[in-house]
């Protein structure tokens, strides 16, 4: 089964505020979308819609494949050493042996494997979140501001990870304010109509 993520005239209502409506796009294996827009335009809400955490007010979301969602919080046990915190999710995702190790190495934080998560810096936690995504076997990556707090070398690692994932038939939906290299990405601009 190939991965697929499609929005069909989706509207998002938060409280009594309409964030967007009539949003349609379709992503297939190897595709990517770059989500931009001012703060509060609904980027994170769109991510949560795609992840199934919110229900669209109108329209349909068609989804084939497993999802990995990287939001604001790392969702890692603060007291545990990083490798074990990641290992919990890898266990639930049924990732193969060594997936965590590989993910840590790819994000350049293998030396932090035994460090408790609460001791990590902001950027290191962001990289740990990305390692969680890498270690999952999900086809669809939903990355909400993954580049925040990352240094240049780490941004390079992120770009490379996304490229490898797409080459393997994965989908990337990326929301960012930073210029990240995502070739041939479908641009989705939110909040154009709001003043």
């Amino acid at each position: 089964m190939t991965a697929r993520l499609a929005f069909d005239r989706v509207a998002c209502l938060r409280g009594d505020r309409l964030l967007f409506e009539g949003l349609s796009f379709a992503l297939g294996a190897g595709d990517a979308a770059l989500l931009t827009g001012p703060n509060g335009a609904g980027k994170s809400s769109l991510m949560r819609l795609a992840a199934g955490l919110l229900v669209p007010s109108a329209g349909k979301i068609d989804l084939h494949g497993r999802i990995a969602h990287a939001g604001e919080a790392p969702a890692l046990d603060m007291r545990l050493p990083l490798a074990r915190a990641l290992g919990f999710w890898a266990g639930i995702d049924g990732s193969e042996e060594g997936a965590v190790r590989g993910a840590l190495e790819r994000m350049g934080i293998a030396n932090l494997a035994e460090v408790p998560v609460h001791m990590l810096s902001t950027g290191q936690r962001k990289r740990a979140t990305l390692a969680r995504i890498l270690a999952s076997r999900a086809e669809i990556w939903l990355l909400d501001e993954p580049g925040n707090g990352l240094d240049t070398a780490s941004l390079g690692r992120l770009t490379e990870a996304m490229a490898v994932h797409r080459a393997g038939g994965g989908i990337v939906l990326l929301a960012t304010h930073q210029p990240l290299d995502l070739p041939d990405a479908l641009p989705i601009v939110l909040g154009k109509t709001t003043p």
């Binding site: 955490l53 919110l54 969602h69 790392p74 969702a75 046990d77 007291r79 919990f88 266990g91």
Partner: protein
């Protein structure tokens, strides 16, 4: 199912590692220690009211960890990650209830032994107390998780938690304390019925609250 068990195991580990499982226990024993000071060293009187006092202590001890049952996971985005992986909110609530009971029920049953000695309960009463607590603590854990889910996202909701949970726990207290007497078998059955009802309903109530909190 394997993933669900992993979630239960994680929560049990968190409870024992963080020392969270110890707090209700210490509280329970503290009440059992303080009670004779307040009532006086009259052995007969203590034996008469001690069982009821221990039920009160168990109820209040169940209230203590409520703010740490679900809120940290919600803030950390862990609950979102469970939802993304296709776990239903009810399944997560049920896992939390089982894990909370494992971190709270057995230690409490153990602590009831020295507590009963402090209050001069006789062997037969102690047996009925242990039996009642074994039946009642799953319901207390279920109520705790449900309350914890209901107050999710509210600031300073500790007092509200008590107001929400304690009235629902009244049947447990009545039948639990009622079962302590020599002719307590009827009350014990009613305790079982009340505990079963609360434990069975709580995952659905808590699941709905978790879903509402995500919106």
């Amino acid at each position: 199912m394997k993933g669900w068990l992993a979630i239960v195991l994680r929560d049990v580990r968190t409870a024992y590692r963080g020392g969270g499982a110890l707090l209700p226990l210490v509280f329970f024993l503290l009440v059992a220690t303080l009670f004779p000071f307040a009532v006086g060293p009259d052995g007969t009187l203590l034996a008469k009211v001690g069982g009821g006092a221990l039920w009160m202590a168990a109820l209040l001890a169940a209230l203590l960890p409520i703010d740490r049952l679900i809120a940290p996971d919600a803030e950390q985005g862990v609950l979102d990650q469970f939802a993304v992986r296709g776990f239903s909110d009810e399944a997560i609530a049920a896992a939390k209830i089982l894990a909370h009971w494992l971190g709270f029920g057995p230690p409490l049953l153990l602590a009831a032994l020295p507590a009963a000695a402090l209050l001069r309960l006789d062997g037969a009463t102690l047996l009925r107390l242990e039996l009642g607590l074994a039946i009642g603590t799953p319901a207390l854990a279920a109520l705790g998780v449900m309350t914890s889910a209901l107050i999710l996202g509210l600031r300073g909701a500790g007092a509200l938690a008590g107001l929400l949970m304690l009235p629902l726990a009244v049947p447990l207290l009545i039948f639990g304390a009622g079962a302590l007497g020599p002719d307590g078998m009827g009350a014990l059955k009613l305790l079982g019925a009340a505990a079963l009802l609360l434990t069975a309903l709580a995952p659905f109530a808590a699941g709905a609250a978790l879903r509402a909190a995500r919106e």
